[in-house]
């Protein structure tokens, strides 16, 4: 129980909060507060997104006509490489875990911080250095033209900045490991007293599964990139066929990391969606343990399917068959999630707010992205579709239609918590519509032209494909406008939006039992542990315009409990 004045202090809009408790640039640079690190990560990954997004628009402009000369062939190669490398290593992998996860994870556990706050800060600085090295490949004037996969033997032969870029990816790998390790330990040891594994929000299951992959797969990428650097500088003959090495071994090593890394990219997004669907349907999530374990299942199966990137690289037929079969099994836990989300919405009280709109477009786009993956996992169709725009469209549906959409939805969901101010919901929904339409216009034609044989990574192409490319280019700019609009809505809200109280959306997980923005210590009181999807435990507080756990209200203020329906 708490008086109205106490409630205002605990759950109202906080003028004194983690953002202004200390001042000055140093108080941010040397902070170990997970919330500030999360915000800094958010700024960082947004910068990377804009940079790589501009690269993408340049690429799409080049492809406007089949004989366009905007870019030379060499520049085109460098542009798509940088687009891929920056997007994958500097943006998508850290986006949801390191930015949103950092902010939300300790609060969902009722903790003051992650287990290793200094390691958390180190992870952020490694991200800065790693991204710096990646970009230095451009600034040094050498560029990078291997594709983000750095396949040997070309990466050994080319005189572009492979060493800078691989070293950058190596450092970014350690940034990722540190975040994952921190989250694993935090979830294991710092849950609130009484918070069992199955009382955690599903976002944490997503992050936990992601962290398992980060910790287990990323070191292999680290040693692979070191060996590549050694090969390039000293010619050690491990990957270079000229010196008796095996270039396909590089592909095995690389995909042993990079396929699980695909799940590093999508699992946190699925976790965000599980939260959004439940909160904005105001209904207990359907099949909690199925969603939870499907995350773990995806993480573990993800380690067993790397060979499906190498169906045409000369693997034995038996190995190829096995990898194909295991690839299909990944569809099962993914589908379990989608059906559970749909069942959660069924008869729920759905509010089509901006985050919910993003969540719905996630389900749609991820559905297409996931199902087209089966075409590529099937051996006979893959021979035809391999290295075409079909592949490009497939992974963009999963990575952009999936992860980026989930990131935007999650940012809109937690933004009022981060900055204590509300955004313009209508403009937010418009941004979601632009993103959805622009995205589909960009990538759906790519399925068609891919199936008709348009190869990926070409700067010019047969005239028959021009109409598809032009749709795609128009779509890319619409998508860009949509993201920029969303960005503008959020930034405006952070500074000028109306002030808002602790739990405006009626979410039941622990991070909402705080003021907005939260106090430096996250919680001024001990949060009351309840089921993260028990929305019935919340009571609307008119004075604060927010939802508060029933036990904080005076008995007289609590609404009458509705009698249980009698079944005869």
């Amino acid at each position: 129980m708490a008086t109205a004045a106490e409630r205002k202090k605990l759950f109202g809009h906080a003028e004194n909060n983690y953002l202004n408790c200390t001042k000055g640039i140093k108080s941010w640079m040397f902070t170990v507060d997970h919330k500030r690190i999360g915000v800094m990560y958010l700024i960082g990954v947004t910068t990377a997104l804009f940079l790589a997004g501009v690269f993408a628009l340049v690429l799409r402009s080049q492809l406007w006509s089949y004989d366009n000369t905007l870019l030379t062939d060499k520049m085109y190669n460098q542009m798509f490489t940088l687009h891929g490398a920056v997007m994958v290593f500097a943006f998508i992998i850290p986006s949801i875990p390191a930015a949103l996860g950092n902010f939300v994870l300790p609060m969902m556990l009722g903790a003051k911080d992650v287990a290793f706050p200094r390691l958390n800060l180190a992870s952020f600085y490694l991200w800065i250095f790693g991204t710096g090295f990646l970009l230095f490949a451009i600034l040094s004037g050498k560029g990078l033209d291997t594709g983000w996969t750095f396949y040997t033997p070309y990466s050994i032969r080319t005189d572009t900045g492979v060493i800078y870029a691989t070293f950058g990816a190596f450092i970014l790998g350690f940034s990722s490991i540190f975040t994952g390790l921190n989250f694993l330990v935090t979830v294991n040891t710092m849950r609130a007293p009484g918070q069992g594994w199955f009382k955690m929000p599903l976002f944490l299951w997503g992050l936990y599964s992601t962290s398992i992959i980060q910790v287990l797969a990323t070191p292999v990428l680290g040693i692979t990139l070191l060996l590549l650097i050694a090969e390039k500088t000293m010619h050690i003959g491990i990957f270079d066929p000229k010196y008796g090495g095996d270039p396909v071994l590089f592909q095995h090593f690389f995909w042993f990391y990079s396929h699980p890394a695909v799940y590093i990219m999508i699992l946190p997004g699925m976790g965000v969606i599980s939260e959004l669907i439940a909160v904005y349907s105001q209904k207990k999530v359907f099949g909690y343990s199925f969603i939870a374990f499907s995350s773990v299942a995806i993480a573990l199966l993800g380690f067993l399917v790397w060979g499906h990137h190498m169906f045409t690289s000369g693997q034995s037929v038996v190995v190829t068959l096995i990898f194909s079969a295991i690839t299909f099994t990944v569809a099962i836990p993914s589908a379990v999630k989608v059906f559970n989300w749909l069942a959660t919405m069924y008869k729920g009280s759905i509010a089509l707010t901006t985050p919910m709109c993003y969540a719905l477009s996630f389900i749609f786009l991820f559905g297409i992205g996931g199902l087209t993956g089966l075409f590529l996992g099937a051996l006979s169709t893959d021979i035809h579709l391999h290295d075409t725009y079909f592949v490009v469209a497939h992974f963009h549906f999963v990575m952009v239609g999936g992860t980026l959409t989930a990131l935007l939805g999650g940012v809109f969901h937690w933004w009022p918590k981060m900055f204590g101010r509300m955004y313009n919901d209508m403009l937010g929904r418009v941004s979601c519509l632009l993103v959805f339409l622009g995205f589909n216009l960009t990538f759906f034609p790519q399925f068609v032209m891919g199936a008709r044989g348009m190869p990926r990574r070409y700067a010019s192409y047969d005239p028959e494909f021009q109409i598809f490319h032009q749709w795609s280019t128009i779509g890319a700019f619409v998508l860009g406008v949509g993201i920029l609009l969303g960005f503008g809505v959020l930034v405006y809200a952070a500074f000028k939006g109306p002030k808002i109280s602790g739990n405006p959306f009626g979410a039941a997980s622990l991070e909402w039992q705080s003021s907005s923005p939260p106090d430096f210590h996250n919680f001024i009181h001990k949060p009351i542990l309840c089921d993260p999807y028990d929305f019935g435990a919340l009571v609307y507080d008119e004075e604060l315009d927010t939802y508060i756990h029933r036990e904080f209200m005076e008995p007289s203020e609590q609404p009458e409990m509705e009698p249980e329906p009698q079944v005869h």
Partner: protein
């Protein structure tokens, strides 16, 4: 139900907390458990980091067993064994140090951590002898592999010539020498400016890094006594030729003990024993692919050596905190964590030694 605690309760970071309990942990036990889980997860990443190299090793050994068969004779298994003993002993001293930290006996921790660091440096010293010996003979990575047998005296007039060691060894030894001088000088300054802890720490560090020279001298002495080490240049050449004879001619392999020191003598002896003249590649023209073995060797042992160096840095931190007397029976986590790391580095060597040195 009192859900709202008094305000000072949450704001006071140090309520009922010990000296070294970070504000975000509830108690010492939670902090210790978090650190322990953290270090174990870190060790998992380390194992996976090395796993790429172990996979590469396995793959090439399966695909090209002959390379490994020919190449391993260049590695001196006795020096490898010596280093194995040194590391095993260092793990023992580390385990004892952890025990004393648990008992809160900081003085004992200092000595046992110092012992561990001396062993670590000695390991690097022996490794430096092994490395420089191979560099002298052109036993390098695949593209640079250019084996030439025989003695390799440093040019007259150089320090290396005077000492009778490899020039490369002099270059390598400059680094630990500078570190020792640095700590010795700082120990003096700290003494004069009345910082006894810093002074003692610097003396300990100088001794710890000094272990490098103990190891290097032991390795050098061994090389002198065995004239280049068993399995070194002439021995390798002889074995190589015996191997080639066995595979390329119908004659019985010559099992005569070979005690000469260069391949010309071996040729002469072969001719004298009326065996058909050797037609295969000369020792100086070994199949260059042997270099792949040494690529893997240098990658594995080099990465391991980097971990040893990192271990010395972690141990230095433990040493400093032991001197400050930080460890208590309810707070000894960092010693435990660094100890676990050190045992893992040791364990990796326990795998590297047989895989690289004890083929055959």
């Amino acid at each position: 139900m009192a859900v709202v605690e008094p305000e000072h309760g949450a704001h006071d970071d140090h309520h009922d907390h010990g000296d070294f309990i970070a504000h975000h942990f509830d108690n010492a036990e939670q902090q210790f458990d978090s650190g322990k889980l953290g270090i174990w997860l870190f060790l998992v990443t380390e194992v996976l980091f090395f796993s790429g190299l172990f996979v590469a090793y396995t793959l090439y050994r399966v695909l090209h067993p002959e390379i490994f068969d020919q190449a391993h004779v260049f590695l001196d298994k006795y020096l490898g064994f010596l280093n194995t003993l040194v590391l095993l002993f260092s793990s023992l001293t580390m385990a004892v140090a952890v025990r004393y930290a648990q008992l809160g006996k900081n003085g004992h921790v200092v000595w046992y951590v110092l012992g561990t660091m001396v062993c670590a440096s000695a390991f690097l010293g022996v490794k430096a002898i092994e490395y420089t010996h191979k560099w002298d003979q052109g036993i390098l990575v695949r593209s640079a592999f250019d084996y030439h047998a025989g003695h390799h005296e440093a040019p007259a007039g150089t320090l290396a010539h005077t000492l009778g060691v490899s020039e490369y060894l002099i270059y390598l030894s400059v680094i630990p020498l500078l570190v020792i001088i640095g700590f010795a000088v700082y120990a003096g300054i700290a003494k004069l400016t009345d910082k006894p802890n810093a002074s003692f720490f610097s003396v300990c560090m100088a001794i710890a890094v000094g272990g490098y020279f103990v190891g290097a001298m032991a390795g050098h002495f061994y090389m002198e006594v065995t004239d280049g080490g068993f399995g070194g240049r002439s021995e390798a050449a002889a074995e190589m030729m015996a191997y080639e004879n066995e595979t390329h001619s119908d004659h019985e392999p010559t099992n005569k003990p070979v005690d000469h020191h260069d391949e010309s003598a071996v040729d002469q002896q072969t001719a004298e024993s009326k065996v058909a003249p050797y037609q295969g590649p000369q020792p100086d023209e070994f199949d260059q692919d042997i270099g792949i073995f040494f690529s893997i060797y240098y990658c594995m042992t080099g990465l391991h050596a980097i971990h040893i160096i990192a271990g010395i840095a972690f141990l230095a931190w433990i040493l400093w905190r032991s001197i400050l007397g930080h460890w208590r029976s309810d707070y000894f986590g960092p010693v435990d964590y660094v100890g676990l790391y050190w045992h893992l580095v040791d364990l990796i060597w326990i795998y590297l030694f047989p895989l690289l040195y004890l083929i055959d």
